[in-house]
Amino acid sequence: MSKRTVQFSIYRYDPDKDDAPYMQDMSVELEPTDIKLLDALTKLKVKDDSLAYRRSCREGVCGSDAMNINGRNGLACLQNIDELKQPIKLRPLPGLPVIRDLIVDMTQFFKQYHSIKPYLINNDPPPERERLQSPEDREELNGLYECILCACCSTSCPTFWWNPDKFVGPAGLLAAYRFIADTRDQATNERLDNLEDPYRLFRCHTIMNCVDVCPKGLNPTQAIGKIKDMMVRRFV
């Protein structure tokens, strides 16, 4: 890859200065070693240090730099910059209040995540070593525990846009199934009770935007389906 100039159109909003958000055209010259979108953002930040975005690990593990890239949610650190059509349009994650530029307020997202009690509930006295699982039981947790809570899925979900205060959202429901599926957890019934609600779980209309955008390749829709399966098994 050679040196190249990349054009951007970036959502800017500073509530202290701006009356309304606006799109700002920016460009940056990249070195051959600049591969990911986050590399370009780092360079842009040097040019204009008023540009605000979150970032931390720069390798798709922390989930901080989730944003709307050319209309699709994703992680800036995993997105190859040369695969994007220019000008690259960057917006904050949709459906959440904007704090500044590409930074959104994730309070609602985490509130939903906490509402499913994202921790193991087991009232037995802890064994001397760890609580064991069979390899088959452990297998079920694959595709669930890898979620990094970047919020790409929930903020691409129209149902979450309409009812962020009531619908748990794909990320929360994936995490819910992660604990429902865990054989070491003893609160399965309470967890299912907690989700049996026309808003919390059944607002999901299997639109599957969540599956489409997940940067970790996870499948929240399938997890939601499995929660429904378990409810049916309990019911009939």
Binding site: N163, E196, P198, Y199, L201, F202, F235
Partner: protein, 115 residues
């Protein structure tokens, strides 16, 4: 009243299940009725009436309509729940939808059994 978010109505599974079951009933009926009409080929009003005079067809047609209206109830109610935020307006729309669908069910029965 303090505006607190209340969730936890503890229903939804039955509706979700019923929506799937009624979809299957409608799909099976659609194939069946097309097969029957292809076999009988009713060319006049009397012949058409004759097809639906059959007790089993009459029952299955009514079952289809009940499934359709129940299915529609859940679907339309979901639309109100998604997009209509004021509780009073939403409740009114729920009641209107349910009333219309119950009316349709009675109407379907009247049409079928008047034959």
């Amino acid at each position: 009243m303090i505006n607190r978010i209340v969730v936890g109505a503890h229903y939804g599974l039955k509706d979700w299940l019923v929506q799937r079951v009624t979809a299957v009933i409608m799909a099976v009926y659609s194939v069946l009725i097309v097969a029957v009409l292809c076999a009988v080929k009713p060319s006049s009003f009397e012949a058409w009436q004759g097809v639906f005079a059959n007790g089993l067809i009459k029952f299955l047609t009514f079952l289809f309509f009940v499934s359709l209206f129940y299915h529609a109830w859940i679907g339309v109610r979901d639309i109100w729940m998604d997009y209509v935020k004021p509780v009073g307006l939403r409740l009114t729309l729920h009641v209107l939808t349910a009333t219309v669908l119950v009316g349709y069910t009675a109407w379907a029965a009247a049409i079928l059994w008047r034959l």
